[in-house]
């Protein structure tokens, strides 16, 4: 009886430490500030184990077999709670962040108390068989070895490969299997066999079920990250695309970042297209880089003189989605079905390097320069490359992040264009979903604002136009170095500025 129970000590100790690590990692992951999360979780957990140990004296049993029954039940309970802990906490967080901390520490205390009960119970079971000094030595050494095993296994193998939810389930199963094993080993010494057997089957079944559904579970939790109904979600090789709908508002999220809201996207896309294109009455060939949602194309198609548009977007899933879905086609006016449009799914940099075409008007609507790969799309090298594809009288309209929240970044893009030999006309517009947003017109010649906007617009009207080019002092130009490929200073500046915004 001694050896199997010592093996259980090893497993039980492993599981105990695992739940503690999982709770700490989950709290750091969801709440940030890992030092605080880990120390409070570990502290609470150890305290709870103390309570458990103290409470163990109240676990009364007339005989060793009674103690064994209690031990098996506690194992099952730890397995169930610990196993489901990560999943439950994750789900709870996505439902409501408020009670999350309460639930986190509640669960940590509960599991801690149960784990705290385990070792004293085992020692009481073994006390009649082993001399006290041996008992303490053996039980505690297995306890600590188990802790070491998990502390190595968790960061190296389990967390990276299984993830938190499945790791917790795995340890839950181990706990439950220890219970089942003990039940089988001591089947001749314990009463209530049938009831205990049922409990084992139920707990193991629940945990296995959790394993099977862990994948769906994560997407279920994702649904709750958004306040709206998800009408479409898919993962392309490049990004996670989620379209949501709430009442009459449709939104697109890429990698959980809002790309547009149907309520005010017209402001963004009118500002992106009309100040430039309205000033080019002779523009016939237009290139759109990025912008697979077709909204910019919709605005461009308002100009009858434009007879060809090339749309270069990396992600075929994006352009297919916006060409196919009735809801989204309604938003972009079925622009992606236009006979004037050619859709190319390619890396804009590589496509431009290979292409020999020139255009009268180019829209560069790329994601913000949040990493070194995207930073290349805002570099002097890219803007020089672009120059080879723009007609002498032509112009480029560039989305260039917010001059309000990322002022240095915005003016760095302006400086980069100028270093690449462009004449720039910076402007901005208020898009409520995003805040104050920045654009830049770049041409080989000086920009002359158009006398009028020849097409129907709701936001960019002739009267509104001059104000777009005026920068109040809080967004006014600041000195900036150009973003070259060999320094990529924009990425660092952008990270710093948006980091500051998100911290508040």
């Amino acid at each position: 009886m001694q050896r199997p129970l010592l093996v259980s000590v090893f497993i039980v100790a492993s599981c105990g430490l695992a739940y503690e690590l999982i709770a700490g990692a989950l709290a750091s992951y969801l709440l940030g500030d890992s030092v605080t999360q880990f120390s409070t979780v570990i502290g609470a957990y150890l305290f709870a184990m103390g309570i458990g140990s103290w409470l163990s004296k109240y676990v009364a049993a007339a005989s060793v077999s009674g103690l064994l029954v209690r031990f098996i039940q506690i194992e099952l309970l730890v397995g169930l709670l610990g196993g489901l802990s990560a999943g439950l906490l994750f789900l709870l967080f996505t439902l409501h962040a408020g009670p999350f901390r309460f639930a986190l520490y509640g669960l940590v205390l509960l599991i801690g108390i149960l784990v705290g009960l385990e070792i004293p119970l085992i020692m009481r079971i073994l006390k009649s068989e082993v001399e006290f000094k041996d008992l303490v030595a053996k039980v505690l050494s297995f306890d600590y070895i188990g802790a070491l095993a998990v502390s190595l296994l968790f960061p190296l193998l389990l967390a990276p490969h299984l993830g938190l939810v499945r790791s917790a389930l795995l340890f839950g199963l181990l706990n439950a299997l220890v219970a089942a094993w003990a039940l089988w080993l001591f089947r001749e010494r314990i009463g209530q066999l049938a009831a205990l057997r049922t409990q084992c089957v139920v707990v193991i079944g629940l945990l296995l079920l959790g394993f099977g559904f862990a994948g769906q579970f994560v997407s279920l939790a994702e649904a709750n990250l958004y306040n709206e109904d998800i009408v479409h979600a898919e993962s392309s090789p490049y990004q996670r695309l989620v379209v949501t709908r709430y009442r009459d508002e449709t939104r697109l999220y890429l990698n959980h970042n809002l790309q547009f809201s149907s309520r005010d996207e017209y402001r963004y896309h009118e500002a992106l297209v009309h100040p430039g294109l309205a000033a080019l009455p002779g523009a016939r060939r237009v290139l759109v880089l990025g912008g697979g949602d077709g909204m910019a194309v919709r605005e461009i198609l308002k100009y009858p003189q434009v007879d060809s548009i090339v749309l270069v977007d990396l992600d075929p899933r994006m352009t297919e989605l916006f060409a196919r879905s009735p809801l989204l086609r309604e938003l972009n006016g079925n622009a992606l079905a236009s006979s004037k449009l050619t859709i190319v799914n390619a890396d804009a940099l590589q496509w431009l390097e290979a292409s020999t075409e020139t255009f009268d008007f180019v829209v560069a609507d790329f994601p913000d320069p949040s990493n070194y790969s995207l930073g290349k799309l805002y570099s002097t090298a890219f803007y020089r490359l672009l120059k080879q594809h723009v007609a002498e009288t032509g112009m480029v309209a560039i989305q260039a992040t917010s001059p309000m929240y990322a002022r240095q970044s915005y003016w760095t893009v302006v400086a980069t264009l100028e270093a690449a030999g462009w004449r720039t006309a910076p402007y901005h517009a208020l898009v409520p979903s995003f805040g104050e947003w920045g654009f830049i017109l770049a041409g080989k010649r000086e920009y002359r604002p158009p006398a009028g906007i020849p097409v129907a617009t709701r936001f960019v009207t002739p009267d509104a136009l001059p104000a777009l080019f005026h920068f109040p002092p809080d967004m006014a130009r600041v000195a900036a170095e150009p973003n070259r490929l060999d320094n990529q200073n924009l990425v660092r500046i952008f990270e710093r500025e948006w980091g500051r915004v998100q911290a508040h």
């Binding site: 009886m1 001694q2 050896r3 199997p4 093996v7 497993i11 296994l153 193998l157 990276p160 490969h161 094993w181 080993l185 090789p237 490049y238 990396l314 890396d347 804009a348 940099l349 590589q350 390097e353 990493n371 070194y372 790969s373 995207l374 290349k376 799309l377 570099s379 002097t380 090298a381 890219f382 020089r384 490359l385 070259r484 490929l485 060999d486 320094n487 990529q488 990425v491």
Partner: protein
């Protein structure tokens, strides 16, 4: 019963723990390439057919590495077209060759050129000719083409499970050790600024233009490691960086490298560590030089005998592709092959050459190119850089061939892993014998520490072996007189190889090639504008 249960329980637990680790996928395909050793080693027992044809040229160049190509380039640019360059391999370029697969071009050897200092005039002239250096080549800090300047982020170091920025180990390094870094950097900064009475830098590139002050040259008599210790530098991070620098540039550890060479690495340039690079490494430079020699390069041509006569020189050349030999008679000879081959090939070499070559050693290199489905991930720290160095590794880390590619989408890539066999000769020899699978496993074991997923990502591992990649700047080899006979050359024979400088650097090979060409032009009576 108890024992049996215990065994069952523990063995199944062990099996569970091991199932992730032991199920390694089989090695991906690839090839082992290298210098044409079969052909080269035939020089040990020369049994070549007698020449069946004789050709005459003004200048014969033996060897088409950077030295030979630079000589050809200078001759051609000076209007001297009557030369023939004899190259043993299928392609000229020496250590600067490259290969290409469906994913990217990638280097087989040298992969970057630090921005050359003003003294490296020939190298700057080449870069200007290739359009990469823009504006005045003699400017203190000329402008370079953004396409070739290494894109950010340039380098990162993997230490204690974390990728830190830059190569100076900083993670967890106490202030006392950082003070050593600062003192060393101040000293290097001062060396870069200092000029002697003749206006020479203490450590110049090319090294021939360095100050001749005896106390500087005395540094050649000690090792880099001993010099650091003698100066009171004990910080492990500084010793690691110095060792890494020596292994990276010279193929020798800091404990083997002449302190003069070690300090030269740090003090000979002005740039803040910026380098020029391309997916194909330095092959674009070799090809830029080779364009000038187009039509006058004989590939697969092993020079097995050179005899200098009164008024000309005879080269007997085995043409491997045709299995026959030819004889080249030239007025002038430029020897641009590694110097260790001289005794085997040159008939009646002067004793001072043999004496000077005694004790010369070459560092072998292994260069492995791994084709990956996608770039490896970063678990903690700085994102993937061009140069990715592992702190606790005998290897030098890896560079990313697609780093300079103008693309932003994620996709397949090729990474190039470098390992200088700096160990002592016995174990070095054994390691050289490793086959491709042996090296592939070593590479994967090295890279799986920062990138546990590397085995799932890799689709090909091609290993390139350089048995005699670099002459080793051991103490005494630079300023102990070993280089003198080759620096001087002799009437009718000039030497154009980095071995003449004692440092296997592009700028040195380029300088030696151009210098040999200019001396040859002078002897031929051709007027030219010096590039030096």
């Amino acid at each position: 019963m108890d024992r049996r249960d215990f065994l069952v329980a523990t063995s199944s637990a062990a099996a569970l723990a091991a199932c992730g680790a032991n199920a390694l996928p089989p090695l991906p395909p690839g090839v082992l390439t290298g210098a044409n050793e079969v052909l080269g080693h035939r020089l040990r027992q020369p049994d070549f057919p007698a020449p069946t044809e004789t050709r005459k040229v003004s200048v014969a160049i033996v060897g088409g590495g950077i030295g030979g190509l630079s000589a050809a380039w200078k001759l051609a640019r000076s209007g001297c077209d009557d030369f023939l360059l004899l190259e043993m391999e299928r392609e000229a370029g020496g250590n600067s060759r490259s290969a290409t697969n469906e994913v990217s071009a990638y280097p087989l050897g040298a992969h970057y050129l630090p921005l050359p200092p003003r003294e490296a005039r020939a190298t700057r002239a080449l870069l200007a000719e290739l359009g990469v250096l823009q504006g005045d080549p003699d400017a203190a800090h000329p402008t370079y083409d953004e396409k070739y300047l290494c894109h950010a982020p340039q380098e990162r170091l993997y230490t204690s499970g974390y990728w830190q920025d830059g190569l100076w180990p900083t993670l967890g390094v106490p202030a006392a050790e950082r003070a050593h870094y600062a003192r060393f950097q101040d000293f290097i900064g001062e060396l870069r600024q200092r000029r002697d009475g003749a206006g020479r830098r203490p450590f110049a590139l090319p090294l021939a233009l360095s100050s001749r002050e005896p106390q500087l040259r005395a540094l050649d008599r000690t090792t880099m490691r001993d010099w650091l210790l003698a100066q009171g530098y004990t910080a492990p991070g500084l010793h690691w960086l110095a060792d890494y620098a020596c292994r990276d540039d010279y193929g020798t550890s800091a404990a083997q490298t002449s302190a003069w060479a070690g300090l030269h690495y740090f003090a000979c340039r002005d740039g803040d560590g910026q380098v020029l690079t391309a997916p194909e490494g330095n092959a674009w430079l070799a090809r830029g030089l080779a364009r000038a020699a187009a039509g006058r390069v004989q590939q697969n041509a092993l020079v097995f005998r050179v005899e200098q006569r009164k008024t000309d020189t005879v080269c007997d050349v085995y043409l491997a592709a045709e299995s026959r030999s030819i004889r080249i008679i030239s007025r002038e000879l430029i020897w641009a092959a590694p110097l260790f081959l001289l005794p085997r090939v040159f008939a009646n070499p002067p004793p001072q050459w043999l004496e000077a070559l005694r004790g010369a050693e070459y560092a072998p290199w292994i260069v492995a190119n791994l084709t990956l489905k996608e770039a490896p991930g970063t678990r903690a720290g700085q994102p993937l850089a061009w140069d990715n160095v592992l702190h606790d590794s005998a290897a030098l880390g890896y560079v990313v061939a697609t780093h300079q590619a103008l693309r932003y989408a994620p996709g397949p890539t090729v990474i190039t892993w470098y390992r200088a066999l700096h160990e002592e000769s016995a174990s070095r020899g054994r390691r050289l014998l490793l086959d491709r699978a042996g090296w592939a496993n070593e590479v994967l074991a090295d890279l799986s520490r920062p990138h546990p997923e590397i085995r799932e990502l890799v689709t090909r591992i091609d290993v390139h072996r350089h048995a005699h990649a670099m002459i080793r700047p051991l103490p005494g080899r630079l300023w102990g007189g070993h280089r003198t006979p080759f620096e001087q050359g002799r009437a009718g024979v000039q030497f154009a190889h980095a071995d003449v400088s004692g440092l296997s650097l592009f700028e040195e090979a380029n300088y030696r090639g151009v210098l040999a060409a200019e001396r040859t032009l002078r002897r031929l009576g051709v007027s030219f504008a010096s590039s030096l």
